[in-house]
Amino acid sequence: MPVYALNPGYQGERMDRVENFHGNQVVYLGWDEHRMFCAAKAFPLPPSMPFAVLIENIMPEAFGQHPEFSQINWDTVEWLLDGEPFKPLADVSLADQEVGHKSLIRFKTPELKGYQGAGV
């Protein structure tokens, strides 16, 4: 049952429909095993944004405070999109490579072990 309600057929209002974000979609970005950032971060981004722009403009805003950030080799990072392995295409928009509303993009940098090598 989708809800236990007094009135049969009750439906809840979807608070986070993509239409509510003024042309943007929410995208979450997480750097695996780098706990300096307590959680993945959320950004409202245009669906037409090419992946290269996300790397150039959004990634530094999200993770640039980390001392290892400048050492990231974006050509070799391992990506997960909504839990599945993912090979982003730099010139293709988010929407055209299935980065949807409220998609989670995670990346791993196996050669960068975090501050003190402790996953921080």
Binding site: L6, G12, C38
Partner: protein
Amino acid sequence: MAAKKLNIKDKYRLLTRDLDWDFSYEDRKQAFPYEEFEGIKITDWNKWEDPFRLTMDSYWKYQAEKEKKLYAILDAFSQNNGHLNVVDPRYVNAVKIFLTGVSPLEYQAYQGFAHVGRQFGGVGARVACQMQSLDELRHVQTQIHAMSHYNKFFDGFQEFSHMHDRVWYLSVPRSFFCDARSAGPFEFMIAIGFSFEYVLTNLLFVPFMSGAAYNGDMATVTFGFSAQSDEARHMTLGLEVIKFLLEQHEDNVPIVQKWIDKWFWRGTRLLTIVAMMMDYMLPNKVMSWKEAWEVYFEEAGGALFKDLARYGIRMPKYAETIEKEKEHISHQAWWTFYTHGHAAGFHTWIPSDEELDWLSAQYPDTFDKYYRPLWDMAKEMEAKGERFYTSGLPQLCQTCQIPMLFTEMDNPNQNSMRDTVYQGERYHFCSDGCCDIFNDEPEKFVQAWLPVHQIFQGNCGGPDVGDILKDYYKMNIGHDNMDIKGSPDEARWNKWKGIA
């Protein structure tokens, strides 16, 4: 002839059970419309054993006496500048969390118990819930009074009620109660009366009240003592409710078990903030969160669930995950607030070296390996004049609304993330527990008012975070938030104490 004085038994009967009446020309189902939709079967409300044999007249008399004493002590506290007796101004930030995060829950509990105190078909349950409702209303009032003294001397107290409704981290306790209050009356009782008041309440009140006692906060201690007898009644009611439901009909057992699973999980997520308070915010520590969890849940709760096994009730789902998480959550939560200290309505700080060593000793398996490096990094950054405040806004769990800060217990370096797609839209969770709760009632949780998404939708002013904090949250920027080092709270304290 003088009226004969009623004996206690007659008085009790006349002022509780005899307040009920039969429905001769109205449909009883219409009078109690909430009683059946949850699937709970009540065969005989007369089997309800009143957990506290209290009538309204004695309730008022007893409470009035208690509160007279409470207010006398609060007056004395205030006239003697009691705030100067707290051990350290850092302590007061725990009181700020209590007033903004917990006291408004007392008000929500008052509303919730007033509602179920109308909706139950059995008069015994109605009277008990009405009394608890009054208790909760008294508690919010006495807490506000007890803590109002601090508002004259410290920042961050002035907009507690407004902040509770709006501030990002306060959506966690707020939505917890909104979930319970928008459920049916029986789920509300298992959520708040049983899971919270009976199973978990010691983990909320003991740490805060003992914390107050250990740290020189006479106002909060006094409130705690005053509320103690009420809390004992609330626990008795919680236990009566669960036994009553389980004895009424065997079909109730799986429903009750599902609610226990849900509300145990939601409750432990909510208590993350208490864990953090105990381990990081009390200058004089009472005990570690881990130890508190072992004493109050693993031992006391374990015995309770053994007792309930004869009804077919088992330990809450994911209890084994929580057992592992007790080594981690306080550290993860304080790091989250430390790094979001610019957006919090209280002060944060790096633990002192003695405190870091205390944490190592209390958490020998996890602290040095996973959490001390965070503080080494924070110290290094602070020494360079770059006190770390994280950029951007965190991803939140759709169910508990906590930033997705928890980690996998088989790899504590990696955040735990779950998701599900419901009717074409993706939803994210911090854990299997929160994901299960959503999947059971997606139509309820698609309505979550997630602060980060609301900011992006433009519903919280802005667009700058500073404007949102100032205008939408009513935080006094530079006073209420940021590190305690260099704060006006710290400067005033040093002046009072003659510290250069």
